[in-house]
Subunit: 338 residues, 2 copies
């Protein structure tokens, strides 16, 4: 199999190299044709690389980036002033075909702005979308987008996001004719704002999308749809609120366990059971998120990701390269828009 | 204490009289000066009333309503064609000062439309808002609005909703200078859509509101704010998604408990602990929701409410009557808008 190269933003995320290096090492062990380009300050990277086995050293290239995009940098500021940052470098490497894909756990807003500027959208695509996998009943998943790449989406953007989500579900999750739902305040046709109603018309008319109609908030975690589309404001608030809710439930369990000796023992015993469930409930932290609709593959790992979660983000990037996701989106959009 | 009269829509909700009658009975036992006007089909109501003690019978008036608003009736249809429905009657009774407040567990969209039409908004108020209490860490609560009374909200409506939520937190929850946050995709000033940014400016300029700035989805369940304001699309989707998430977690716990003999025993033992937590997590089902900004008190019980949850809705109505919530909102709006 031919060499597959992924550029990693070593400085992105709350824990930086500390969790990224072990994840990269595991990925190299699992995927023989994988190579990495590490982007970050040379001293940090070479210090670690010097300690690795020769085989590993040969599969990692270091790209010195003196600048770092801070988690609180405004996207516009990062775009204009952080041209030598590790985040910018990974995108430049993809743009120049030196890398097949890139992964960052850094500032999401800055990553979206830079990726949009450096890589540009695919022909016909108006705006990129940020998507993640959300768990559903019976060990299922649903692709949920947009998570905040676009604060407001007109009907055309919502429609295109539905097409992109559908391609991802088909190609990566291997679902035949994935069911696509539009998130709304009710399931009846008359419900919702103008953008959603018009997007529903576009999706109903399109023969290339298996559009199932409006879905409501409580349908997200059911098995009703394989792809759920909403604008970036709603998607961002919803996703973050689930994280808040799960943290709240965990805290409540801890508090409840303090109430009596019996509940303390029970909670302690049952905790592993619930921890495994709760972990699934932090979708973007566990799976990472992908930018769709660009002329290159960009995977966003959660800022607070563990090594294991970062490894998922790397694997997602590998999968999208092997399945040629951008090309598939380009082809589908061409068919749908013709 | 003078007589306090509440009109109940006996036919509203998934379980109708079956859960409403017991809730009403408990409320009468708890509140000596309380009277009810039951609105629904006479046969159903009188059959139940005949079996009650004379003291109870004297405190309930029956109002025969041959029509019922169905859960799937379009709001416009209900408004035009269900003038003899139990839902319409409770609102007419409030409008005519025959009742001090009303409670329905029926079709939310129809109730909002009818209430807006029959009762009208308070002077200066552009649109009513639907609000509920959401649990937060350390046994706290936050007033969360709008839940879907207004699909899109301009900055003025968001601002007014912040004022109304603030009055409710002050009067009902007795919080001094309640902290009011605007829900957004980030906490920085530059984040969000135009409506949210402009509403933030209005709130910052107002000296009558303790505005704390933007809050994100993950802040909702924290103790950051006492009142969180968003538009009805976001609020509706978020609230329903939490219900979906909690149901999903409960189902996952059940599934996990089937995996082995040990986990079966553990889950069974720990279930009561978690059930008490999960119950708090269905905010509108547990607390009901209130329509704010109208010239009368309207409380919406969850369609799927139990008797206990319906009793909460009745108590909420009693509290709002005793605290004269509409008058307080009217006074505050007059001060803020002057």
């Amino acid at each position: 199999m031919s060499r597959l190269t992924i550029a990693l933003d070593i400085m992105g995320g709350d824990h930086g190299p500390h969790i990224i290096f072990p994840a990269a090492l595991t990925a190299l062990q699992q995927t023989p044709h994988l190579h990495f380009i590490f982007c970050g300050p040379l001293t940090v990277m070479s210090k670690w690389l010097d300690k690795q086995l020769p085989d590993i050293q040969q599969r990692i290239t270091l790209s010195d980036c003196p600048e770092t995009v801070a988690m609180d940098d405004a996207p516009g500021h990062a775009l204009r002033h952080k041209k030598n940052s590790s985040m910018r470098r990974i995108l430049d490497l993809v743009e120049n075909n030196d890398a097949d894909a890139c992964v960052s756990g850094g500032n999401t807003g800055a990553l979206i702005s830079m990726a949009y500027y450096v890589l540009k959208t695919l022909p016909g695509i108006v705006r990129p979308a940020l998507v993640t996998l959300v768990p559903t009943l019976n060990n299922g998943n649903v692709y949920f987008l947009d998570l905040g790449a676009n604060i407001s989406c007109d009907s055309e953007v919502l429609f295109q996001h539905a097409v992109m989500g559908s391609v991802l579900a088909e190609q990566v999750a291997i679902i035949n004719e994935p069911k696509v739902g539009l998130l709304n305040v009710g399931s009846e046709e008359i419900k919702g704002n103008d953008q959603v109603k018009q997007a529903a018309r576009l999706l109903t008319e399109s023969k290339d999308i298996n559009y199932i109609g409006f879905v409501e908030g409580n349908d997200i975690f059911s098995e009703k749809a394989n792809v759920i589309v909403t604008d970036g404001f709603v998607g961002n608030v919803a996703l973050k609120s689930w994280e808040g809710l799960v943290n709240f439930v965990i805290q409540e369990v801890k508090n409840a366990s303090q109430r009596s000796w019996g509940s303390k023992v029970l909670a302690k015993l049952a905790m592993p059971l619930f921890r495994s469930i709760f972990k699934r409930m932090k979708p973007d932290q566990y799976n990472g998120a992908s930018l769709l609709g660009l002329r290159g593959i960009v995977v966003k790992s959660h800022g607070n990701a563990s090594s294991k979660a970062y490894l998922y983000a790397i694997r997602e990037a590998i999968q999208q390269v092997e399945l040629q996701v951008p090309e598939k989106i380009k082809d589908r959009i061409a068919v749908v828009l013709k």
